[in-house]
Every structure is written in C-alpha cells, then in structure tokens.
Symmetry: D2
Subunit: 330 residues, 4 copies
C-alpha cells in the first residue's frame, strides 16, 4: 500500500485523487493546495487531510509518495524538497519551462535515489503503447520514418497561452516524448516551421498555433510532427511508424460509431474523445499503476526525470528553430 | 435523491451497486441476498445495510426503488411484492422464462401504478440508441430490412445452459427487444432454424448453439437475427437497418486499434470488449439514469413491463418454430 | 486459340464480344442475333461474320465454342443444338426459368461430353473468390453461418419483372449459387419471406421486391440471404462467413474514396460500382479465361450445367416457400 | 478528332498509344522511336506509321498533337521543335532535370501560343481530384496544413538512379505538383532532410532514398511531404488536408478486400495497386481527355508548362536544402 500526498487540487489534481482513491494499492493521505477551499473539498471527498503547507507532508514518515500536480513553476521546488525528504515522486509534465532550471534541479537531486517519474502519460496509452511494443518486437523491421499528428480540439485564450512557454513546451512536448519513446533514440537535429492560422493574437508574444517539424535521430531515422491548436472534428492524436517491413498506425479510438450510407455518401458519426482527460483515461490509470509497481519493487520508474529533461531540450531547440528559421543541431 | 434497495449481490448485482453508489441522484440503503456473506460484503463496501429477508426493505418507507438482480425464478415474486408495497422497480431481464407467469404477474400488478422498468440495457447503448434515433429522424427513410448479429464470446457449460430456458429466452431475447425497439412495431411471424455446431451436448435437452431467424412485422418489414454461443474474435454485436433512403450500421466499438500493414496484409489488432458488462458499461449507466429520471418525473419508465412480456412471447414463438420446423404466427 | 460464336448481341452479348476480342487465346468468328442490325454492328466492330441463323455456326467445324447470351427462353434449345454439334458451351444464367425443362435438357445432352459452363460469374470475382479460397484453406475453421447481402441499385419496371420468373429465379439465383460455391454443400431446407416495399405493382403477379431467406445445408450450416430490388446507396454485394475459428467478410470494393471529417461527422464519399457489368468486370474476364482453360485442357468447366440446375431448384423452393408460407425440404 | 504523333515507344509510350487508340476523339498516326523495332511494333499494333526521325511528323500538317514520352533529356528539344511547328504538346514529366534549361525553353516557345500540357497525371486521379475539388468548394474551410505520403513499392537499381537527377527531381516532383495543385499557392520556403536507409550505395552519388520535407506557402500554410523509395506493403499514395473546418483524406484505393477476423486480429488482405501505371490508370485516361478537350476548345491545357517549371524549381530547392542542411527561400 503506497501512501500518497497530492500537491495541487485543480482539474488534473482531482483526476489523480480519484485514481489514487480507487487503486487497491494506494491511499490518499494529504491534499495540498495554496487555495485552501479546493484542498479541503478534495480531501473531504476522499477522507484525506487538507494542508496549506507541504511541510507537514514532508515530515510525515508515513507518506511514501508525492503526486505533484501544481502549477508548472512550482514543480522544481517541490521535487527538490520531496526528493530530499526521501519521497517517491510522480510529477506532471513539464518539469519546468526552463531546461537549465531542470538541469540544475537534477544536479541537486540525482544522489537522492528516490523513484521519480514524469507524467508523460501517453506512453501508457493502450494504442500508442501497443504500437511501440509491436515495433520493438520487430513486426515492421527497422523503423525508417515516424509521423506524429497532434491536434487539440480547441485553442486556449491568448492570455493563458502568453504564459504557457509556447506551443512546443506546452503542447508538443508530449509528442517529443513519444518520438523518443518510440524510436528509442535521441534526436540530433530539429527544424520547425509555424504559422498563426487560428488566433493572430499569438503573434504578439511570438507564439504560433500551427506547427510542422522534421527531426532526425542518431541513426538517421526521419521524424515528422504536425500540431494544431484547434481541430474542429475533435482531439486528433495519431502515430504512423514506417519501417523496412511495413507500417504501424495508431489511430484515434472511436467510442462508438453508426455509419450512414445514403445516395450521397457513407458517413460515420464517430465522436472522438473530447480532450486529454477522457482520451487518455486508461493511460493515466496505467501510469499510476506503473509508478506504484516501481515504488513497490524499488526500481526506477519510467519515464524518468531525464526523459523529462530531454523532451524539454527538444522543445527549446524547436523554439529556437522557429525563431531563427534555421535547423538546430543537438 | 432515489433511495435504492438492491436484491441480489451476484456479479451483475455488484455492478448495479457500484452504479447506484456513484450516481449523484441515488443512494444504496439495502442489499438483500439469500447468501448472507455476499450481501454483507457488498453492503459494507457501500455503507448500506445487509438483510436476508426483503420484508425489512418493503416495510421501510424511505426505500423508493428496488433493483432486482436475483435469479430469474424469483423475479415475479419480488415484482409483485414490491409493486404492492409501492416501490418503483428496475428488474433484470428476463422477467421469467414462462410468458404465462409473466402475464399472470401483470394481472396482479397492473393497477399498482408504480414505475416498472425491465433491464433491456441495450436500448441505452450509445451506438444502438443512435441508430434508433437516426432511423426515427428519417435519415434513411422508411425501414425495409433489419439484420441483427448477436454472437457471444464463448459458450457457458452445458449444465448451466440446461436450465437457461434455451438460447432464445436466455440470449436472443435481447435481440427480440432491440428488434421491437428499432422497428417500433410488433412481430406477426417468426421462423427459426438452429444447429448444435459448437457443443453437441446441448442436443440432449433440445437446445441449440447456432440460430438464424426471420421475422416479419405488422407493416411487412423483414427482419433477420443470427446468433451464436461462441465467437472466437470476441463479443460481436451489430445492427444493420436498411431503408428506402439508405442504410444505418451500428458496428462494434473498438477500444483501441493499431493497424499493421505488411507485405502480406493490413491487420488491425482490434480487441472487442470481452463481454456484456464491459461492452454495455455506458448502457447500464444510462439505463439507471433513465430509470431515476422517470421515477423523479413520475412517468412510466421504458422499456416497460409489457416490453418484457412481448420479448418473452417472441422467444416462445422462436422456440416453438425451432421445435416444429414451422413458422409461428403471432 | 479458341474460336467463338456469340449468340445474342444485346447489352451483355456486347460485353462478352469485347472480352473475347481482347483475349489473346480467343477469337470471335460469328455473331448471331435475331435482330440482324445488332448482329451486323457487333460483327463489324470485331471483324466477325454476322448470321441470323445458328445453322451456319453449328455446321462450321472451325467453331470451337458457343457463348450463349440470348434471351433466357432460347438457352435450352441452343444448348441442345450446340452440344449435339460438339461445341463447347458458355451459357448465361439462368439456364431456364423451369427446373424441369433444365432437367430434361440435361437428359438430352449429358452423353455429349462437351464442356458446358454456366455464367455464374460471381464465383470468379476476386473478392468473393478470395473468401471462398480462404475458407477452403481453413483460415476460419469449420463454417457455421453464412450471411449474403444482395441489393440491386434500382428496380426494373414492373412490366419487365412480370416475365422475369420472380425475384428468386431472376436475381437471387446468383446468391443461391454463391451459397453452394462457398459452403460446398447442398441445401436441405429453404424458408423465404418477402414483401413489396418498393413497388406495390409487383403484387399483381405474385412477386415481391424485398426478401429474406434462411437455408440449412446437409451438415447443419445455417445460411441467410437478404435481397432488395432497390438500394439507393448503390449496388451492395457482401458475403460474411462465420466459422469456428473466426469470420471472413467480402465487402464492396471502393473504386476511390475521400473521407471528410468535420465537426459533425466523418464521411467517405465512396461510390459503389453502378451495377453488375462494372462491379463484376474482372469476374467476367476471369470467367472467360477459366472456360478457355477448361476447353484447352479438355476438362469439364465449373460452374457446371448441374450447378445451374441446382441453383434453379433452390429458386423454385424459395418461390414455393414464399407462396405457401412454409419451409420447403429438398 | 485529334491526330496524334507519339514520340517514344517505351513502357509509358505503349500505355499512351493504347489510350489514344481507344479514345473516340483521337487517332494515332505516327510512332517515333530511335529504336526502330519498338516504333514499328507499336505502330503496327495501332495501324500507325513508324518513323525514326521527327521531321516527317513535324512537316505533316495533318498531325495536330505530339505526345512526348521519350527520355527526359530529349524533351526540351522536341517541345521547341513541336511548338515552332504549331503542334499541340502533351509532354511527360519532368520537362528536364535542369530548371534553367526549362526556363530557356520557355523563352523560346512562349510566343508560339500552342497548347502545352505537362504530364502531371495525378491531378486527374479521381480520388486526389475529388479532394482538391472539395477543398476548393470550401468543405473544410481554409486550408492550414497539408500532409502528403509518397512511397514507391520498390527501389530501382542504384545504377539507374545515378542518372535520375535525385529523388526530388525524379520522384517527389509529382508531390511538389500536387502541393501546388491543392494549395493553389506558391511555396516560399523549403526544408528537406534525408537518409539512405534502404540502399547505402546511393550515398556514392549524393542521393538518398528516404526524405521528409516541410514547405511553407505564400499565405503561411504548412506542408509536409514524406517519401520512400521502398514500401513493402505496396504503392502508398495518400494526401491529408487539414483546414479550419475539418479534414479531407485521400487514401489508397483498394481494388478488393476480404477481411479476416480471428482470435488474434482483424486483417484485411488489401492489395494496393502495384505501381503508377495501374494505380493511376484512370488518371492517365482523364489526362488525355482533358488535353484533347483543351485542344478542341482552343484553350490552354493544365497543368501548364509553367507548372512544370515551378515543380522543377521546388525540386532544385529541396536538393539544395538537403545538400546544405539549410532551408531555402524561394
């Protein structure tokens, strides 16, 4: 039984609280949030204790693990405190918008030997994970090209996005992690182009809403990511792996579909999942199970802190490429 | 807030308990089961009271509704007792294996005016319900032909099936209800053929494991049902409606799928849901919501007791057709 | 090189003439039609000789084979004449609307030992043939159920249909042949229901436009055929074989498709082939190749005369079942 | 009736000869090839005259049009001669491997006012053309992103490819044309990456077999092309257009498909067309029809000479980007 303290009682914190409470191998002891009413409401629902300082949590030796779901700029501080207090850590992505801060963080905690997992939940999605496994099993031979499609259902307000770190650090970072997960290689070159085709206001602070990237890995594999902040037909998340022996495609799961054939067309009313919490519900569940398993086994969980750092570096490189118009070598 | 007593703490009773407990509009007060440890375990999980007699429940005026999930032969008795005690009733299908017993039951309760709903959950399945709605909305004009495919993932042991009432009353009864739900008409003629192609032991007690039926409705619409007790690729539940203006197809939802294209083929590893509890999870949820809504509104819920009786009569007719080799008029 | 005489210069005769002319192993020497201008126009196009009597053809020893594409009521006469003259015969379906006439014909020609093939072209369709081959190869184990969907794009005028022999002998006869081809068994019982849902005028002469059949084979396999004279979304021809080890589905080939995903739906504008000549173009080609091969090899071609007779008997049984309302044993 | 002279009696010349001969609006008068036996064989088949010099053709006033299907390095010469002789011209792609030679050619012929069409046949493919039309019709609103997948079934020998002009000029040029056709815009920036993942020998002469490109158009639309010289599952040619109002996908047409559902998977044996002549059969036909129509109407055909030049310039830019590692502005 892993004893969790949850840091952050916002939308995604609530989802994590529910998963922890429902797990037969976990229990939720504390909920921390700077906004006390949120912490208290969530704590009450799951018979946990609400706190407005993490000190109580860090000093309570019964707490095994922190699940960090606070705002991004507080992650590094909590990771360092938690690691030094000997707590296992499952931290939402991204670790921080600044790669150098993340690297500094790593310097401070790398000797702590606590299990640290970064919340790249898509690695645990049944479809994407199955693609990765079949590729590893050699079902299409050596990978040659990877194409990732990443389109959000709708764009957030410009004011929110102004502080998001930009499309690469905020949104495409998941795809960078998937690329590393699936290829099993590091990227050596990134080139990005982008446009503001959806919300022109983003140009005010140098951001874009539509991007295309090409990336090359150590062994010369070619990768493409295309991303959009708004996709009217729903949350579109696909991966295509092309190899010497064939192709694997992870397509959008369809909760249900009635196809209609008329004289004009054959149409399937196929609702995609509205957004990430619904789309990746099973992935969030499997992510928690995997973390618990690693803590129980005393092994390092995956994706690791370093995975978080590497994805951040790819986001930085993509931003730099977008800003300069030139490919960036890594 | 509807106050429920659950009768029956078996597999499907447990599922219903979970749904009631999770509903913001319902609470679970009692769990009854003749097997006390099952009742107690389930009651404890949801802070309800376990009882081994239904009298306490019937006499407790705070109880609004009974959810009957006991063995089939006890349904009629509990329905009569519940209706006379003024409780709303949501009863698992079938009401009883004997249509005449069901008709007798109806005579005894029809004046009670309590809401009674029969658990034909498939009417609430998002895909099937969408097909029915689009048909009603005229998207393919007047219905002409209906084809229902109904294949269970695996056959139960012959000893269990010996007491099941036969494939029509036990399994195809759901499809009879769907046929009535979708066509919106009564059936006037049934013809059934069957074979034991999966488990020859069923022949000992006159049952079959593979069936095909043709049915004709009042207005001359043609319907086909094919059913199988074992389908190696999973739980296959499809409906095809063919009309003057086109075709609607409700196909199997695919939780996820990776397609593999190689020199030999393009294959999608598409796991179907294992069986009815997983496949119709949303339907069970929506069924409960619909019942609660009807009780709150003081309207008669649907599918009604009469719907349960009519489906049973179709099952009887199908059995008679199989036994005699002749079509049966209704 | 097989030397052909074509009997019948109508729509389907023209198609056959084109196939013979294009075949590197065949040549077209004669075209016969009672309507001389048709025969002459077609003969001129392919440098053949037009005749208005078949005697010249039968007496010309250079003619190897007759392709009979005249009106149905003349088939038996030409088959007998051709067989007695030692010509190989490829005859369009059906042999005749009367099974007893077909049986009589067989008595007269069975000792002639000429190759005779009946034009059940669908056996040569790449998709259907692949399904049959994969079934024979054991890819889904023992067949248990077969479902055939057979929907024409549009209904012919009632006046034409009045002399067609009825929907079973005119249209569904192809599906009876597919059933025998795929199951590899004879049918022992037929039951048919039907309605006039498209053209009420058909009722005047006892015909229907919408039918459903259940058929049982020698070993107890269950088969279903549904047929419609009008299908607004196109020519719908599908076969589903369900077996102990899985399912094979032969679906409609799509010449091309652009799928459109919008906020409302995902729609594929998938034009089906307009009708049989376009849909079964490859099948007609392969049918001719197979006939030529058999003639060259001196083997009996397939589907044989007897296959034509058996399909006719199934059509008779279906008509009798529709007329009496009772299943017919064979 | 358009009177054609065919220049080039190789594989693709033979196909064009067949199309011209089959067209009710065209006839084939001459076949020219430097290899006389090829010209003679083809000319004999279609009752045309074989010549080993184009002078006869150019001086014969009855010749309306030249179809140029000779080797690439002879195209420019024949175009100039033909245009100056007043012949309409349908020339296979590419016009020439050198954009500057193509530009020079244009200078010499631009005042000739003869109809000139370049053989970018894919514009006439029913699927791709339907996508372009639906996009123009506004079915998905303003285009934002375009993704083109272009994979050949197998790689040619390195010795052949050595003189091909490189993958961009030889193969991807079709995709550059599709991009211009679909976006209706000019490209302002190209970036290309590539690897030799299939045949390492290509590196000897600076070519690659696997490429990915990003391209930006005048209005900021983002485009991606991925190309591979070998695709084991067949000739893979897809286009995905993503817009403000939805997505259009042109997928691979499937001549026929039997799907196999077993306990392990659902697999469709879906043979793709082997290569371009089969895949784009209808496109070649429609291309010829379009050319004939333009000549008859006295309008300039499309795609025009300038379209050929622009595609060539994109190929040059892609090659330069691959060589330098830097994006190229246009």
């Amino acid at each position: 039984m892993i004893n969790f303290a949850l840091l952050g009682a916002g939308r995604i914190g609530k989802m994590h609280a529910g998963l922890i409470a429902a797990s037969p191998q976990a229990q939720l002891s504390y909920v921390f949030d700077t906004h006390s009413p949120s912490a208290m409401a969530l704590a009450e629902k799951y018979q946990a204790t609400a706190v407005d300082s993490v000190d109580v949590i860090l000093q309570d030796s019964r707490v095994d693990a922190l699940l960090i779901a606070t705002s991004t700029d507080t992650h590094v501080g909590f990771i360092i405190q938690g690691a030094k207090a000997g707590k296992a850590i499952l931290c939402e992505k991204p670790i921080d918008l600044s790669s150098s801060l993340v690297a500094d963080c790593w310097e401070q905690i790398k000797d702590c030997k606590v299990p640290i997992q970064i919340g790249f939940n898509r690695r645990f999605d049944p479809t994407h994970a199955s693609l990765q496994r079949q590729l590893s099993d050699g079902s299409i031979g050596e990978l040659q090209q990877l194409v990732i499609t990443s389109r959000d259902p709708d764009i957030a307000p410009a004011e929110y996005l102004r502080h998001s770190g930009g499309i690469f650090r905020d949104m495409i970072i998941h795809d960078f992690d998937m690329l590393r997960f699936i290829t099993g290689e590091e990227v050596v070159q990134v080139h990005a182009i982008g446009s503001t085709l959806i919300d022109p206001d983003l140009a005010q602070f140098g951001d874009v809403d539509s991007v295309m990237l090409t990336l090359k890995t150590e062994s010369g594999k070619l990768c493409h990511i295309n991303g959009s902040r708004r996709c009217v037909y729903g949350y579109d998340q696909r991966i295509e792996a092309f190899g010497a022996g064939g192709m694997l495609q992870s397509t959008n799961p369809l909760p249900h579909a009635v196809s209609v054939s008329t004289a004009e067309s054959t149409a399937a009313h196929s609702p995609l999942n509205p957004f990430f919490i619904e789309r990746y519900q099973q992935a969030y569940q499997a992510q928690l199970d995997s973390f618990i398993q690693a803590v129980n086994d005393g092994t390092q969980p995956s994706p690791s802190f370093t995975d978080g750092l590497q994805a951040q570096r790819l986001a930085d490189a993509a931003q730099q490429s977008l800003d300069t118009g030139l490919p960036v070598q890594l």
